[in-house]
């Protein structure tokens, strides 16, 4: 599997580290315990297209948001995660 880093270009999987689901959003500070538990521990086990965080630690050290099909490993989109590369995401 290869990932096309928006900063570096196409690179082998070994340069990246997988974080996991990019969908969960940190709940507000006053959110219920249930909402925080869900955010921290509960994950969907998606068979199909999902949005994931990957870290290009063996390269530019940017966090990326990768859209990947977990059944086929087909990657349909890669974009910088929020805060990675101010020029590209305007953060």
């Amino acid at each position: 599997m290869r990932i096309t880093c928006p900063f570096c270009g196409e690179r082998e999987l070994g340069e990246f580290t997988y974080l996991g689901d990019a969908k969960p959003q940190r709940p507000a500070a006053d959110a219920s315990e249930e909402a925080v538990y869900d955010y921290v521990y509960l994950r969907d086990n998606i068979a199909g297209v999902m949005s994931e965080h990957w870290y290009h630690g063996g390269g530019c050290r940017a966090w990326l948001k990768v859209t990947r099909n977990t059944l086929t490993h087909e990657i349909s989109a890669v974009e910088p995660a929020a805060g990675a590369g101010a020029a590209k995401v305007g953060a």
Partner: protein, 207 residues
């Protein structure tokens, strides 16, 4: 309080043995460690990437690299190291961290890497063939031309790789590696290069 006396020396000081290595005859690979350089990492602060770029342009007379490449200024080289950041490689203290800190104050965070990295210059007829054993990126001249740079990994070690100006009609690669990984990568490079014949040396001159 105990007194400490630190010798400033290259991380390859004990490992590098100048002279020939591997197969005898015409060396296909030349390895030269470059010593005593100034290396500063310049990273834009949040929302200050364009300000950092303008400051770099004013200071060095060239645009800071926004894509993976190395840009030569009259007395320094600016090497892309990631989004909104680059390395400043020079000699003699003119662009040391002390000199650059007031220049980039407010637009970028600086980190002195002068003694944190080893710089290895790889050239010779078989340089690319040898590096192809260690690197998963395409180093063919059509893809990785003069001035191309990459933040990548070799033998599980993070490196900054860039192509310098050709020397005597031959391709020149530069490798920056973390000081603590330098010995390990050096041995790997020697193993890879041995079959082509190697000539080893060190220099104080930035290629």
């Amino acid at each position: 309080m105990a007194d400490f006396s630190w010798d400033v020396r290259s991380p390859l000081d004990r490992t590098l043995v100048a002279g020939p290595y591997g197969v005898q005859g015409d060396a296909g690979v030349a390895l030269t460690e470059i010593r005593n350089f100034d290396l500063v990492q310049v990273m834009a602060r949040r929302g200050k990437a364009s300000e950092m770029a303008q400051t770099a342009q004013a200071r060095f007379g060239v645009a800071a690299p926004e894509t993976p490449k190395a840009v030569g200024a009259s007395d320094a080289t600016l090497i892309w190291s990631g989004p909104d950041q680059f390395f400043m490689l020079s000699k003699g203290g003119k662009h040391s961290i002390e000199a650059l800190a007031p220049v980039f104050a407010g637009s970028a965070s600086l980190s002195d890497q002068s003694h944190a990295r080893a710089l290895i210059n790889v050239s010779g007829e078989k340089a690319r063939t040898m590096l192809a054993k260690l690197s998963s990126i395409d180093l063919h001249p059509d893809v990785f031309g003069v001035g191309a740079a990459a933040a990548t990994s070799m033998d599980h070690t993070s490196v900054t790789l860039w192509r310098g100006t050709d020397r005597n009609g031959q391709v020149v690669f530069n490798l920056l590696v973390f000081a603590t990984f330098a010995q390990s990568l050096w041995h790997t490079i020697l193993d890879s290069a041995a079959e082509y014949g190697v000539t080893i040396g060190h220099s104080e001159d930035l290629a």
